[in-house]
Each structure stands twice: as C-alpha cells, then as structure tokens.
C-alpha cells in the first residue's frame, strides 16, 4: 500500500519543499518581529502557504493531458499581462512590476515564467522539430525573448536574467549542437561580462577566441562570430542608459561595492556580516543582532537567507542549501524517468527556474554573485512567488505520477 502511494506521490521531493517553506516562515517571523510596519507579514505568509498548498494539490491532480493543452493559452495570457503591467502597473522601488486586483497585488512576471516554460516545452517537443535548423532555433529564441524584452521595459533585470537562462537551458536540453549553442549563448555572456569593465571583456573575448579555435570552423564564420561578440560588449553600455537609477546602482555596486555603501553594496556587506557572525550554531532564534536591529531593509524578501545564517549558523545554512540540493537532484532523477519530450522539457524548465533563483539569491547573500533582486524560492516573503513555485512543484509531481505515460 505504502509503496503504491510512493509510486504516485514523490515524498522525497515533497517533504524537503514543506520543510523549506517552514524554515522560511520561521525566518520571516524573526525578521519582522516587532517591526513597525511589517509585523503582519508572518501571518500573511502563513495564509499564502495554505493557499499555495491548495494550488499544489490542484496541479497535482490536474489531468496530465491538460498540461499540454493550456500551454499556448498560458503564454499568450502572460504576454498580455506583461503588456498590461507596463501600461497600468504600480511602481514599487522604481520599477513597474505589479498589477493590483482590488487590494491584492500580483506580479505578472511570476506568472509569465510558467507561460514561457509551458509554451517553449510545447513548441520544442512538437513532432519533427529540429532545433539545429536555423528556422526552429530562431522561433525558439523569439518565444523566449519576447517576454524578456517586456520585462526589461518594466524594468526588472533579475527576472529578465531568469527568463534568458530558462530559454537557453531548454534549447540546450532539446539537443542543440554545442557550436550553435556557443553562437547564441556567448554574446549574452559577453554582455554580462561587459558590466565588469574592460578587463572582463578582454578575458571573455579571449575565451571566445579559444572556443573558436577548438571548434575549428572556417575562418570566415569564426570572424563573423567574433565580431558579433565584440559588438555585444558595447551593447551593455548602450542599454545601461535606459535602466532605472536603482538598477544602475545595483550593477555598479556589484562591480564596485565601495562606491555605494548604502545602496546594494551596503546590503551585501551587512548580509555577509550577518551570516558570518552566525558562526557554527548561530545566535539563536530571534537573537540575531543584525536581523533584530534591522540593518538590512526589507530583509524578509531577498535577504531572508541571512536570517537563517545569523540565527541558525553554519548547520542551519547548510541544511537549507542541502534541502534545495535534494530537490534539484530529485528533479534530475524524475527527468531521466519520464518518457515524453514535453514533460521532460517542462521539468527542465522548472528545475532551471528554481535553480537560477536559488543560486543568484544564495550567491548574493554570501557574496559570490551580484545583488540582483530575486527571491529565494519557498523562503522569501511574497505571495505570487510562493503560489507559482508550489504550483510548479505540483506540476512536477503530476508528471512524476504519470511518468510512464508516453504521449
């Protein structure tokens, strides 16, 4: 009986997720404890958790076939929502990324991630699709870049990065040959490298040259690719003028944290102090001085991880990361057991989404990646994000349940 249930319900994925959500609630409670304006956030997040659990079961029990049917609609609807947010969204911290329905605020870009994953999976898994064909790769890139362009207009740099990485990973998964992958992905890498100044551009262009040498294509092709990469390195300088001041600052402060000690550099520094001072066992629940003294504004959103690091120490931080690790490995296992391409692509998309959020968020908390405003899945305060992530886990487990189907 039990083994039968286990066959249908993947406990080794579900249990870590529930524990992570619980850890998130504890950290939110601590970071908003006695806070003048945010002390109600804990209770709100408890409500969100239950609503999200409902969404999880809804998607878990959804007929497997319907997943494919809703793909096109989801995507079209998300594009509409993104357009709407630009037209009539609410500005929070210099960026428009919220739509409100009455008193409920909602971030369409969260929803659009699901739309992108589903539609791209649907399109890439269509029969006779050949990703190494110029037409097919162009359409696949277009599907990914339309929402990216709209999100850049909001502008929300972090979310745009997530969309780009999801698109590339899913294309990669479809079997794009390495050379083609190099051609489409290298300019994007160059653009990011160019944020760190001339040195980084020269080094990454060096890698491009090295790669071109190993691919051993004809000199003409190689030259075109190199020139294209070179041009991309100017792209960032051009685009930064269109970014909002708070985003320019974020990028600047990652490149040079001392330049803006009170902007994101200040947050990054305080986050490191919080986590580092936690030591092996932490300062204890509600006893983190950095957290309780509110050195980091809005810590319950993007910097929730340093509450854990400070109050629960090294073991708490490692357990949290390990739970994510289990989740990601579970995803890869399920992926290897599913039979149909669509489900496989959806799972890769969800995995990429969660992993990108996870790595960028943890990275900025422990000071190894730039401060890009992305929430930590299942832990950061926020209804839209938790609802979407739990729904995605519901979908993943739905696919697990039906993994032997071949459609």
């Amino acid at each position: 009986m039990f083994s039968k249930l286990e066959d249908k319900f993947d406990f080794s994925l579900f249990v870590p997720i529930i524990i992570l959500t619980g850890i998130g609630l504890l950290a939110i409670y601590s970071s908003t404890y006695n806070h003048p304006t945010a002390s109600g956030n804990f209770i709100k997040q408890v409500y969100f958790s239950f609503i999200s659990l409902g969404a999880f079961f809804f998607f878990y029990f959804l007929p497997h076939k319907s997943l494919k049917l809703i793909a096109g609609g989801l995507y079209a609807f998300s594009i509409l929502l993104l357009l709407a947010v630009i037209a009539l969204g609410k500005t929070v911290y210099g960026a428009k990324s919220w739509i409100s329905f009455g008193s409920i605020g909602f971030q369409p870009s969260e929803f659009a991630k699901v739309g992108l994953i589903f539609f791209l999976a649907y399109w890439l898994s269509y029969k006779n699709r050949n990703i190494n064909n110029l037409k097919d790769i162009s359409v696949a890139l277009a599907i990914g870049m339309i929402p990216v362009a709209l999100i850049m207009l909001e502008p929300d740099l972090g979310t745009a990065i997530v969309f780009i990485i999801i698109t590339f990973t899913m294309i990669f998964w479809s079997g794009l040959n390495l050379f083609a992958f190099f051609v489409v992905a290298s300019p994007v890498v160059i653009v990011f490298a160019s944020m760190f100044g001339l040195g980084a551009i020269i080094i990454s262009l060096g890698f491009v040259l090295l790669a071109l040498y190993f691919f051993k294509r004809d000199i003409f092709t190689s030259l075109i690719i190199f020139v294209f990469n070179l041009a991309s390195s100017f792209f960032f300088d051009y685009i930064i003028r269109y970014l909002k001041p708070h985003q320019q600052k974020r990028i600047e402060s990652f490149v040079n944290p001392a330049a803006d000690p009170l902007g994101s550099g200040y947050n990054a520094l305080q986050a490191k102090v919080a986590i580092g001072s936690g030591g092996l066992f932490g300062k204890g629940f509600l006893h983190g001085s950095q957290t309780q003294l509110r050195f980091i504004p809005e810590q319950w959103t993007d910097f929730i991880y340093c509450v854990i690091g400070e109050e629960f120490g090294f073991w708490g931080s490692v357990i949290t990361i390990s739970l994510f690790f289990i989740v990601f490995l579970r995803f890869l296992n399920i992926i290897s057991s599913v039979k149909d391409k669509f489900s496989s692509l959806v799972l890769v998309g969800i995995l990429t989404l969660l992993f990108t959020h996870f790595s960028i968020n943890i990275g900025m908390n422990i000071g190894i990646t730039p401060v890009i405003g992305l929430p930590l899945p299942f832990l950061s305060y926020g209804g839209s994000s938790l609802l979407v992530n739990m729904s995605l886990i519901g979908i993943a487990m739905n696919i697990y349940k039906n993994r032997r189907l071949y459609t």
Partner: protein
C-alpha cells in the same frame, strides 16, 4: 557530444553545474561562518554601520510679495531609546524636564508596538539647560538623547492658524500605507496647507552612516562621512496672501467670532483669510501632551473649526444680486421695470414683511435699499428649480475647491430637496419666498460668498479660490505657478453693470452701508443679515473695490452681531483699504527701483 534530445551527456552537465554550485556555497559558508567568524562577529557586535535618517526641513511660506509668513528654526527634541533606557530614571528626568510625573511612561507606552531600538520623541522644544544637563550626565542616562530638529517659526506677526494648519507625528495607519516615504516619528501635515501641500513641503530625507557599538552608542562616522547624503529641504510655497491685509483682518476679528475671505477677483487668489476665534499655532505646534490638545478640541468656542470654509449659514440679503441677475438674464425684469413696495407681500394667508415701504422700486433701488418685496415677487416669477440651477452655477451648494483641508458644500434647496425634507406636496411656494431674500434653507460658506463677490466684481469670470500660488524650486529658486480651475458665468456684461450699480449705491448712495464710504477707493457692497434660530442673527457683508477696476472682493461674516452694516461692513472696509494701500506702496517701490 550527443546531440539527441535530453541525452545522458546533457543531463551530466546539469548535474555538474548543480553540484559545483553546491560545493562553492558550502565552501564559502564554511569560510565565512567557521574560519572568518571571529572577524564578522566583531563587526556585528562592536563595529556596526548604522544608517541614521536625517529629516528634511519643510518648505517655508511666503506671502504674495515674498514676505516670510512661516519659517523654520532649529530646536532641541528630547528622545529616549527604550532598549537602552532604564525606567527608574523617569522621576529624575521628569523633574529636570519640569513635567508631570508619569509623563515619560505615558509617552513611551504610546508606541510599544515599534521596535525598542527606535528612539521615541518625548518632548519637543526643550531648553538649552536641559540639553546641557543631558550632555554632562550622558553616561548615567543611557538611552536618553536629544536631536536638533527644525521646527516651525511663527514669529512673523501672522497667526493664520486655519490657513497654515499644523503637523503632527504620523500615526500607525498612515505609516503603514506610506512606508516607502515615512518612518516612525516623522511629522506630516494634517490641517490647512501643511496637509494639502504635504508632498511639496516634506522634502527628501537624507542619511548619515555611523559606526555604533553593541549598545548602539555612536563611536564615529563611517568612512569619514563619504557615503552620507544631506537631506533636501521641501519646496517653499508662495502664498496668495497679502501680509498687511491679513494682519488687519486678524486684528479686526480679535474679540469677534466669524470669518472673512478676501479674493483677487480675476485670479481667485485669496488675499486674506480669517476664521475666528483662532488658536495659537506656535503654542499648538509644540504641545505633546494629549490632555492639552483635548482641551483645545473641546473648547466651546471651537477654535479648531474653520469657520471660513466649513460653517454654513443663510446668506441673507447678500444673495439678492443673484436673483436680480437671473431675472435680467431670463427677461423677467429690466433695468427700468418697477414694483410698488407697500411694506411687504401678502401670499395666501401669510404676510412677508419688508423693512419699510419703499414705494415705486426698480432693480437698482431694490439692491441699494435692500427691498424685500421686490425680491419676494421676483423669485416667485423665477420659480424654485430655475433659481436653484443658477445659484449652483455661482458656486453655491458645492465645494469651491479651496486648497485648505476641509470644506462644506452648503445647501441649495430645489424641489427634489424639499420633497425629501418635507415630503411630496407638503411644502408650498411660501418656502420659496424666503429664499428670495436669502433666508430659509439656503446655506452658504464664507468662501462661497467671497467667490460670488468675485464673480460680481469681475463680470462672471474668476478662478477657484486658493491660498497657494506656486512654489520655488530648490536649486535655483525659480517660481513654478500652480494651475487652478476657471469659474465662468456667461451672463451679459450689461446685466452685471446693473447689479454692480446697485451695489455701488449701497455704499455711495442712499443705501444700507453708506457709513463705510471711502474717499480714496470706491467700494461697492451689499449688507446682509443671516437669521439664526439659535441666537442673535449673524452680520454679513460682501464687497469689492475699486468699483471701476476691482482688485479685491471680500465676504465678511460676524456671528451673533445683528445687522450687517454696523459690524461686518467696517471690517470689510479696513481690509480693503489695507490691501489697496499695501499694493499701491509696493507698486510705487517697484516703479522707484526700476526708475533708479
């Protein structure tokens, strides 16, 4: 590499990326939390950087001629940070501060919901000896501190309580709604232009970075203040008031109850505004004690109540010009048509009295001598709904939109209104007759009357009344005007000429206010008496001057004073004279300086 869909090679790459990141993170955590923990711990417990928000001074107020009305001055405020404070110090500090016992615990208990690390404001405007005492004994008084704050300075000879309004510490629900801008202890405007123009006045906060030790004591600047940002003062507002006229207006109301609004007819700019009794702004602004605030709130004379914009009363005979204009516009009367006033009008079984028998009376004489009979007959011809429709066009029965925080609409009764109040068919045209002379249910505010006077003065053209003209930019002090709504009445100019002539004769002919006639300025006006069922009648007067080229229109209401010409009219005359004198003087100075 295998180029097939989802190949094992590709899965291996994903594995590799995930494991690599996991390994790097664990290594970094190990380095931070185990190897370098001591260094970080030191940073967190001994040397922490703290961001201290610096409040921005509010913008200040100038009058129309750039004379200062309200400014800022630095003052000491006493604060306590509950986390470090010992409550046993209460009696000692209360004694030195000179306040009642329990004062401090009362103040502290008001804000227990907030983090105990945020300092609480205990008393504003403490004197220097107290600050010196705090400094000397700082090591014996943990958690007690002072800050220098900018406070309003009202020492420029004008009180203007109901114009300027005041600020108060932001309350919890406001704070929650606007947490992006405000924080605990911030002051926000809650009355008058302090409220209306809050977004202009508040400026931008600054901050400084300091290094604090584990007990939150500041031990120095962070990076020598390189990252600090100075606060930006709010925009200075240019008001429409004329200081000289305002001073005279406030003085005239010293021991009277009522209100006064003077407007520049062509622009809607408020030149003087009084609601009396007033409260002393300087005193009110520094009060922290709830019981004293409550005393002012419950004062039976209601000094907090803005009588100029919120108290409503029947306009009395001041409304007669409006009926005359409607009659002329609708062709019911002409300049020459007359009636015979025999001391009143018999209507059904009621007799409506006039004060005296005016005999053969045309419209000009009817205004000049305030003949009731003429207007009883006229309003019967106009009819209730047609009349109400026009009265509303002149701005009665709705808010004028004046930029002070509170305003009443007043009442303009029409048949719908009477049906609601008395029931269908239970009221008669008798109700209408009293409306003809501005009594009965018709209720107006002083600001509406002033706007009406401006419309009469300027032939039906003005702008919605306002007390702020514009603001000065922070960087180069450039004046940016604000825009206000047009108010237009498209009656023929010759009809306005007729009623204006009547108003001119009120003061300069054989009218009801000949006592206020001035040699140097031709005033046109109209008296009124507002019947008050609760006590003595209110005295009213509306006027404009100079008659040929009006620069000021005014409405004055004195509560429980009786007949308009003896109480309200002289006040109007004094303010008119003060304003026109003042503008003349300023123009002369301008000419002189240009000539030089």
């Amino acid at each position: 590499m295998d180029n097939s869909f989802g190949s094992a090679d590709r899965r291996r790459i994903l594995y590799f990326i995930i494991i690599l990141f996991f390994a790097i993170s664990i290594f970094q955590l190990f380095r931070m939390q185990i190897l370098e923990q001591v260094a970080y711990k030191e940073k967190s417990t001994e040397n922490s950087i703290k961001k201290i928000m610096l409040k921005a001074p509010r913008g200040i107020f100038f009058d129309r001629n750039f004379q200062v009305l309200v400014s800022n001055k630095p003052s000491y405020s006493f604060e306590i940070t509950p986390a470090n404070y010992n409550r046993q110090l209460n009696p000692l500090i209360e004694h030195v501060l000179g306040v009642d016992s329990n004062y401090i615990s009362k103040r502290l208990s008001k804000s227990t919901a907030y983090s105990k690390y945020i300092p609480r404001l205990i008393k504003r405007n403490v004197d220097f000896p107290f600050v010196a005492w705090l400094e000397e004994n700082s090591n014996k008084l943990p958690g007690a501190s002072y800050v220098i704050e900018m406070q309003r300075d009202y020492s420029f000879g004008i009180n203007g309580a109901h114009i300027f309004g005041y600020t108060r510490e932001i309350n919890y629900s406001q704070l929650k709604r606007q947490k992006n801008f405000y924080s605990l202890g911030d002051y926000v405007g809650i009355k008058g232009i302090e409220k209306t123009y809050e977004n202009y006045l508040r400026g931008e906060k600054g901050y400084k970075l300091v290094i604090v030790n584990s007990s939150q004591r500041i031990i120095g600047k962070y990076e020598n203040g390189k990252g600090d940002r100075a606060p930006v003062k709010g925009y200075d507002l240019i008001l429409t008031l004329n200081s000289d006229a305002q001073k005279v207006a406030e003085k005239s109301f010293k021991h009277k109850t009522g209100s006064l609004v003077a407007i520049e007819p062509s622009t809607g700019e408020v030149l003087a505004f009084v609601s009396s009794p007033q409260y002393n702004l300087a005193e009110f602004a520094s009060i922290m004690d709830e019981s004293m605030i409550r005393k002012i709130i419950h004062d039976k004379n209601k000094p907090l109540f803005n009588r100029g914009t919120t108290s409503i009363y029947p306009p009395g005979s001041t409304i007669k010009m409006l009926a005359a204009l409607i009659g002329l516009q609708e062709g019911l009367i002409t300049k020459y048509s007359t009636i015979d006033c025999k001391g009143g009008l018999q209507y059904g079984n009621r007799f409506f009295k006039c004060h005296g028998a005016h005999g053969i009376t045309n419209v000009i004489k009817a205004i000049e001598q305030s003949c009731n009979t003429y207007f009883y007959k006229l309003i019967l011809d106009i009819g209730l709904d047609r009349w109400a429709n026009y009265v509303k066009k002149f701005g009665f029965g709705k808010k004028t939109g004046i930029d002070l925080s509170e305003e009443s609409k007043g009442i303009v009764p029409d048949s719908k209104y009477y049906d609601k109040v008395y029931g269908k068919g239970k009221w008669s045209r008798g109700n209408l007759i009293s409306l003809g002379i501005g009594q009965g249910e018709l209720s107006v505010t002083t600001v509406q009357l002033a706007q009406y006077a401006a419309l009469l003065a300027n032939f039906g053209k003005t702008k919605s009344p306002h007390v702020v003209k514009g603001y000065l930019t922070q960087d180069n002090q450039e004046f940016i005007p604000l825009k206000f709504k047009d108010v237009n009445i498209d009656f023929k100019r010759k009809y306005f000429d007729i009623v204006r002539e009547g108003m001119f004769k009120v003061v300069n002919g054989k009218g009801t206010a000949t006592g206020i006639k001035l040699k140097e300025y031709k005033i046109a006006g109209k008296t009124g008496t507002s019947q008050n069922p609760h006590g003595k009648d209110h005295a009213l007067f509306i006027a404009f001057a100079p008659y040929d080229n009006p620069k000021i229109a005014i409405a004055v209401m004195v509560e429980n004073a009786g007949f308009g010409s003896s109480f309200a009219a002289p006040i109007a005359r004094d303010v008119i004279k003060a304003y026109l004198d003042s503008e003349k003087k300023i123009n002369n100075q301008k000419l002189l300086s240009e000539w030089n």
